[in-house]
């Protein structure tokens, strides 16, 4: 009886934890996939996988990186399952216009479109760092890269973004 009550309590806590992290994870999945509907599906499936594997989460404090890893894997699985048609980035931007434009600041729209145009290998570490607060070492671990490779990608990501947004890049170091 006590075990059952304890189990219910634990499950309720886990559910609340996942729900509280969901908006942030959804945002991460959006930048990963550049598709809000796909992001929702990936997060939904990831939550289901997390629910089934909740016993493997030993520390609630580590829930966010744990869920984030599940989302990255689920997204990769989606990619394996489906044959994605190559899409023009401008079409992607147009299809997500409502999400990208949902801001009172006009200049953010331009920056968001530029983020869509960044190659995946540059966009993902940048999102992990800026949006999710990951350190270089944490990004390296998550993406299975060396620290130097992560720094190079972050550097190139910002240089390209700034150039696309018309920032002064004359003092940047050449690649």
């Amino acid at each position: 009886m006590n075990d059952e009550v304890g189990g219910n309590h634990r499950r309720a806590r886990f559910q609340a934890l996942c729900q509280s992290l969901r908006p942030e994870l959804l945002r991460f999945a959006f930048w990963l996939s550049r598709d809000s509907a796909l992001a929702e599906d990936v997060v939904q499936e990831s939550m289901l996988r997390a629910w089934k594997a909740q016993d493997s989460l030993l520390d609630e404090g580590a829930a966010k990186p744990w869920l984030l890893t599940i989302i990255r894997r689920e997204y990769a699985r989606t990619f394996e399952r489906k044959r994605f048609v190559t899409v023009d980035v401008d079409e992607l931007v147009a299809s997500e216009e409502a999400t990208l434009a949902a801001s009172a600041e006009q200049d953010l729209g331009e920056l968001r479109a530029a983020l869509f145009k960044l190659p995946d290998e540059y966009r993902e570490p940048l999102v992990l760092q800026v949006l999710m607060g990951y350190t270089t070492a944490e990004i390296a671990r998550e993406l299975n890269l060396s620290g130097a490779a992560v720094l190079t990608r972050l550097c190139r990501a910002r240089k390209r973004l700034r150039a696309m947004c018309g920032e002064d890049t004359s003092l940047d170091t050449p690649e």
């Binding site: 509280s20 289901l48 953010l108 968001r112 720094l151 972050l154 550097c155 240089k159």
Partner: protein
């Protein structure tokens, strides 16, 4: 001594880095210092750009398997769904009115939890023009006695843009949100989801929320910092 090229490569990779070697170079090189200021301005825009408002799909249980990307809704049960949503809104609205303080604290926690990058330990102060721009709309300035401000953003919170700043203290980063549109009758302490803080009234100017995160945060320390920040606020006409 680090050269300019190495500094710029590293600072572009992480503009908010607190690396002492980078700081040393920056302090000795005006050109790189200006370069960093430009990067930080862009970084602030980047942080806001990444925080897209994601539409939440209604009616999907948290752990339900997906059915279809856009589930078809039969016309005969649309009324039932609408009635359920209306009922939820009524109940939620009632709870909101019954527990205004708790709702405000929860909203503050949810907001700061959505900006993890703000919590980085850093000694790179936000440039004055940037900080002033964030504070200007709320008609206030922050005296230097508040401490080093390493993050400043104008954030959309409960229908208004409010200043969200992070001050570095000996106890770590402390978040301050100036809530000129939110009044509380008395100081409200909260401890939720790993964040501990207080919302204190600012008579005639709404309230301010001051919070820290992590298990080592001390209630008295928060109160002390809240008083320090409160005294550092200068209201402008």
């Amino acid at each position: 001594m680090m050269d300019h090229a190495r500094y710029r490569m590293l600072i572009v990779s992480d503009p908010r880095s607190a690396d002492p070697e980078l700081r040393e170079h920056r302090e000795s090189c005006q050109e790189c210092s200006l370069y960093t200021e430009g990067l930080l301005r862009f970084e602030s825009r980047l942080e806001r750009a990444l925080k897209v408002d994601m539409p939440i799909r209604a009616g999907v249980p948290p752990f339900a398997s997906k059915t279809s990307r856009r589930p078809a809704v039969r016309s005969w049960n649309r009324m039932a769904i609408a009635a359920s949503i209306l009922l939820c809104l009524v109940v939620a609205g009632g709870l909101w009115l019954a527990l205004p303080g708790t709702s405000l604290a929860a909203a503050v926690v949810a907001h700061v939890d959505g900006e993890p990058q703000a919590w980085q330990r850093s000694d790179v102060a936000v440039p004055d023009p940037r900080l002033n721009a964030v504070l200007r709309d709320s008609k206030l300035e922050l005296a230097p006695s508040a401490g080093t401000v390493t993050y400043a953003s104008s954030c959309f919170f409960r229908g208004h843009y409010v200043p969200h700043v992070v001050v570095q203290t000996d106890s770590g980063p402390v978040t301050v949100m100036v809530l000129v549109h939110e009044s509380v009758r008395k100081p409200l302490q909260f401890d939720e989801h790993g964040y501990r803080g207080t919302i204190v009234p600012m008579p005639g100017h709404g309230s301010i929320a001051v919070l820290m995160r992590g298990p080592g945060t001390d209630r008295e320390e928060i109160e002390r910092i809240a008083a320090q920040v409160r005294n550092a606020i200068v209201w402008t006409p």
